[in-house]
Amino acid sequence: MDIQFVGEHLLPGRLGQFFIILSFGSAILAAVSYYYATISGAFDNSWRRIARIATWLNTTAVVGIGACLFYIIYNHLFEYHYAWAHSSKALPVYYIISSFWEGQEGSFWLWTFWQGVLANVLIWRAKSWESPVLTIVMVSQAMLSSMLLGVEIFGTRVGSSPFILLRSAIEAPIFARPDYLSLIADGNGLNPLLQNYWMVIHPPTLFLGFASMIVPFAYAIAGLWTKRFHEWTKPVMPWALFAVMILGTGIVMGSFWAYEALNFGGFWAWDPVENASIIPWLTLIAAVHVLLAYKHSGHSYFTATFLTLISFVLVLYASFLTRSGILGETSVHAFTDLGMFWHLVIDVLIFAAIAVAFLVWRWKELPITKKDEETYSREFWLFIGALVLTVACVQIISSTSIPVFNAMFGTKVAPPVEPVQHYNKWQVPFAIVIALISGFAQFLKYKNTDSSKFFISIVVSLVAAAILTGILVYITKVYSNPMFILLTFAGLFSIIANGKLLGEALKGKWKLAGSAVAHIGFGLLLIGALVAAATNKVISVNNSGPIPIKGFEKENKSGENLMMYQNEPIKMDKYTITYLNDTTEGPNTYVKVNYKVYDKDGKVSEEFNLYPNVQINPKMGLIASPDTKHYIFHDVYTHLSSIAPPEGNHDHEGHTDEENYLDPSTHEVNIGDTVRYKTGFIVVKGINKDAKIKDISLNQNDIAVGMALEVNTPDGKYDAEPIYLLKAGQQPVDFGKNVDQAGLKLRFTKIDPAKKTLELMVYQKKPAEKKWIVLKAIVFPYINLFWAGSIIMVVGFLLSIFRRNKELKTA
């Protein structure tokens, strides 16, 4: 029996699902039409016309999917699983955008959106390349749309639709009620870690990078397909550089987000998800260099094509790694499987098959030279550099793919215990070789170079680099490891050699500027990453106490987390730090930590406050975000590892005033006596025989006596008069007095006529539970070199794009 559900908005979902089907269908139509447009040649425009219309239709459909999904999330239509799972009512609009791509479906949508945009740019700009290139792009578009289908075909669900209803996605008894929607008050909300402005711009940049990787792939296939083996290497250059630039920017943004918003304590962790995105980036950079070599010398055609093709296949492999759930036990931030494991595998295989098929088909016609390269030629070293980059990638892939091998061969190999050391061990030597080549290859000419001239010109740079290395290594203290010194040298050599080139570029050879700037940025990035990674120091080392850490005596490891009480300064490294207070803004609690540096005379020479925050999320527990003080030459990074539970937890009903006080002390006193308590003393000033008690009328036989007391605290004197009451024929009672300023409660409890003494009971307040935090602080020296290097490198790519674009127009 069908239940009539109340309050559902089914239209946006149905419309969205229609757009998904439309985008899938139109992508296939466009791909097929472009295929026939390609093989029918330039004489017949009818296929191309259909293909263009299909492509535009596809773009419209993709935009339509986005609009429907946005409408659903924006209006909090929690009858849809996606809105329920990834957003909540309290979410500000700009984070609604991030919740858009928190889930896999949204990030697939983002990818198809960019790919659609690129397809339109290609229709506009690609001219004679339009048909073959767009055939491939639209095949990829069809594959991506199929990931969103969420339709059952032959009993298996293909893809995962963002428009699936909550009641279809999840089985629960409440969905048997027609009014189930009224029971669902709010969505699950966005993962607090993603509630960061970098998360609004990092994913779109990254996915534009991934999406643009299809274009070089499509050009390479188009070149093979239409036998324009040489021509494709020209128009592909700006596209390949664009992909490299955008993907590089996206990766660095992710790295910056991790550094600023996550408590990983670093900017690169060799996490499988990070590796997955950097591998295609490196292979495409290698491809760009070999393409240049081929363009100028006719050498290495196969390598250039192969690297261009494999880069996109590796993008798909990366999406398989991060989305299929296969990384489960090795990565903290991969997506979980949405039942698309095989779908993703097929995606990788289809494009790998396209690449292999075209290469095999045209194998005999490929313009492969039989000539040998000259050793003193630029193309030779471009080729070698690209190969070294590729081997570096092979290392990253093979380590990252351990779970894949486990799944394929049923083995149970665990990833390296210390991933950072494992990767660095390999990547540092590769980086040294690549940096050196990127320096001296600039002094070589294409075809051949006079070797003596070459050596004379590099010797100056080598010497300058050696001297600077000495200085830099001394300042940055990276002399612990000879490999680090070599890497510093290689990076500096690359900077100097390319700086020389930049000097010439400024004199008029502007064409060289892009490559010079990009390589300078690369050199800086290497040195920055090396120094920051090799010399960063945890300064919150807990070695103050005489008690070694239980159970760790043998290893003598000191902990990296420091416990501090509020307002109790602690000496940490050169800083004196104090936990001052905390403020709560919305769901976040910001803890104010004051850092001071005292000079020899005891004066404060440096002072700043950091506000690391925690969010006590009812669903995810405590989420910490660091705060960092940025200096030009170093950063002080601080994050909270733990915090005292918030107040009010002990506040349950049925407790008495007495519970707030320690056990009382009882004193027998007389006028003029002094009673000491923990932080002060009390003087018995006298007896008030006419004590009045509010609301109690006294008869003649009643005795009400007040004890006049003066409480002396370090902060001042307070008077108090507890009263002893003896009503005729009743048990005596007393009325105590609280002196809140002193944290005391005073009672006059007995009069002993025989001894002529009075009894005074002193209650002291329990010390309030002191607030505490546990924090970890790290100093990152010279990390700005890393960021600056990244930015300079991106600028270099941009300059190169302009140059190659201009070459296209003049050609």
């Binding site: 699983h81 699950n188 489960g328 190999v413 665990a414 215990v417 008690i547």
Partner: protein, 136 residues
Amino acid sequence: MKKSSIIGIIIIAIAIGVIISTYADSSTYANFSEAVKTQSELHVVGNLNKQKEMVYNPQEDANYFAFYMKDKSGVECKVVFNGTKPQDFEKSEQIVLTGKMQGDEFHASKILMKCPSKYNKDQVEVSAHTAQPSKI
């Protein structure tokens, strides 16, 4: 032979070396009884024993966290971690430890845990604000 072919061969040789070394560096998944027999660091997968106590007193020592874990073969062992207690540790479904045995205790250098957090598991939460029958 062409120079580039020779270099190609060298590169392939290095690549093979790299892959082999990856496996030399790699670790193994084991259980506690296997961990007792070796001094090398390895990975142990298991579940937190929620019945037994977890010790984390930052006031005493902010870098000492101890708990009991049952590995996949059901063997239980005390685990000591030189650091703070990971947030939401109680809710963890599965734990992957990296470390080695020291006497009777397993000393973990890294803890990776999987939580059944709402971000990867679907559980409809019915709000407490159920519709109140209106009073007439």
